[in-house]
């Protein structure tokens, strides 16, 4: 086996060249190139993390503005409901008030008209009484020629009219 039988003659050369090559690999690649590659990988990972965080932030902002929008919409809707209710009450109240005033006016006019009718009726009745009294006095005078006291006739007529 040359690995064992040659040890005596090759160990120095193996050690010498391995030391040189391994040092080249360690310092030239392991210490010089590898940290740069590690930094590239780390930078990329950091950037990906940052981008993800930014996207998360943007998503949160979007969600918040969406929520704000909904809240605004809701508050506007409730304000509108309140305003509608207020307007409705106001309208109802004014309608009621105008109804009330017109009712009152109507009632007043009815009362006036009723009073007028009453007075006309009374006047008409009085006229009927007077006319009846005149007629009775004339009839009596014509038929009997007796001049009856006008006051007596009036009392009699009133009594007869009251009888119906």
């Amino acid at each position: 086996m040359p690995q064992l039988s040659q040890i005596g003659e090759i160990y120095a050369s193996q050690l010498f060249w391995l030391a040189i090559v391994f040092a080249l690999i360690y310092f030239g690649i392991g210490k010089a190139m590898v940290p740069k590659i590690e930094k590239t990988v780390d930078d990329r990972n950091a950037r990906i993390q940052g981008d993800i965080a930014a996207a998360e932030g943007a998503r949160a902002t979007a969600l918040a503005s969406e929520r704000d929008y909904q809240a605004g919409l809701d508050s506007a809707r409730s304000t509108a409901t309140v305003a509608i209710a207020a307007a409705k009450t106001r309208v109802t109240a004014s309608t009621e008030a105008s109804l009330k005033t017109s009712d009152a006016a109507m009632a007043a006019r009815i009362a006036t008209a009723t009073a007028q009718i009453e007075s006309s009726k009374t006047a008409a009745l009085a006229e009927i009484e007077t006319a009846t009294t005149d007629a009775v006095a004339q009839i009596v005078a014509k038929l009997s020629g007796v001049a009856v006291d006008r006051a007596t006739i009036a009392t009699r007529v009133k009594a007869e009219l009251a009888h119906g």
Partner: protein
């Protein structure tokens, strides 16, 4: 590689006799020796493939340096390769493990690429033969003792002599201590050897298996006749299966080495 080429020529010359150990031979590239302070530090085929591993790894990882916000396929692959190690380190070492990530990264990808380069079927090109750096105990042992040394250094640096309480498990009755402490100590000291041997043995065994079945294919077909062809075809099917298994082993062994090192570092940083 020239040695391998020679070996192939020699093998075909001696009527298909193929030595499955030949592939592990370490030879100076182009036969030239170099020395430093009296030590032989020749640029061998093993060293060449270490450099190949470094170049391939550097090419692969540099694809991750485009730093685009939306990455292409290559950049994703490099980033996933880095994240895989970061993940392993953060899960297994935990707090304070980040600073070991470059080491675990280098360890895992050096072993993984060395394993994978080792099983590349490039020997189909005459004269070209890949070499599995991690099939050498000299290499795996250096890596294992480096890991072990870092564990010791970190442990004593952070905890001082309290690091020895690592050998005293929580909640064990006091009268068991004379047994438990030596057992824990031995299992701790065995760590670098098991680390080194596991990788070395797995890779060596896989490569021997591939080479043996490969030689069966060559010998079966060159023997000719019905039986030879049957042996050749069966061995070829076997090679396909073993190659798939080897790809799995390449990844698993690299993962196990890096994972165990992270777990040992967890002990050193946190003491249990």
């Amino acid at each position: 590689m020239s040695a391998v080429a020679n070996a192939v020529t020699a093998a075909s010359a001696s009527a298909g006799k193929i030595d499955p150990m030949e592939q592990f031979m370490v030879e100076p590239v182009l036969g030239r020796h170099m020395s430093l302070f009296g030590y032989d530090v020749s640029f061998t085929n093993s060293a060449l493939f270490m450099v190949v591993v470094f170049v391939l790894l550097a090419l692969f990882i540099s694809g991750g340096l485009k730093r685009q916000l939306v990455p292409g396929r290559w950049q994703v692959a490099a980033e996933d390769a880095v994240s895989f190690i970061d993940n392993m380190v953060s899960v297994n070492i935990g707090a304070g493990g980040k600073k070991f990530a470059p080491y675990i990264f280098s360890l895992f990808y050096f072993i993984l690429f060395a394993n994978l380069v080792g099983v590349l079927p490039l020997s189909i090109v005459p004269g070209l033969h890949t070499f599995a750096v991690t099939s050498h105990i000299t290499v795996t042992a250096i890596l294992a003792f480096l890991s072990f040394g870092i564990v010791l250094a970190v442990g004593f640096w952070k905890h001082g002599f309290k690091f020895f309480t690592l050998f005293v498990p929580h909640g064990a009755p006091a009268w068991l201590m004379p047994v438990i402490i030596p057992v824990e100590f031995v299992s701790f000291m065995v760590r670098p050897f098991s680390l080194a041997l596991r990788l070395f043995v797995a890779m060596t065994a896989g490569h021997i298996l591939l080479e043996v079945f490969g030689s069966f294919v060559v010998q079966g077909f060159s023997a000719g006749g019905g039986l030879g062809s049957v042996v050749g075809i069966l061995s070829f099917i076997m090679i396909i299966g073993v190659s798939a298994l080897e790809l799995l082993v390449c990844a698993i062994q690299a993962y196990v080495f890096a994972l165990l090192t992270s777990l040992y570092l967890h002990d050193a940083v946190h003491l249990h």
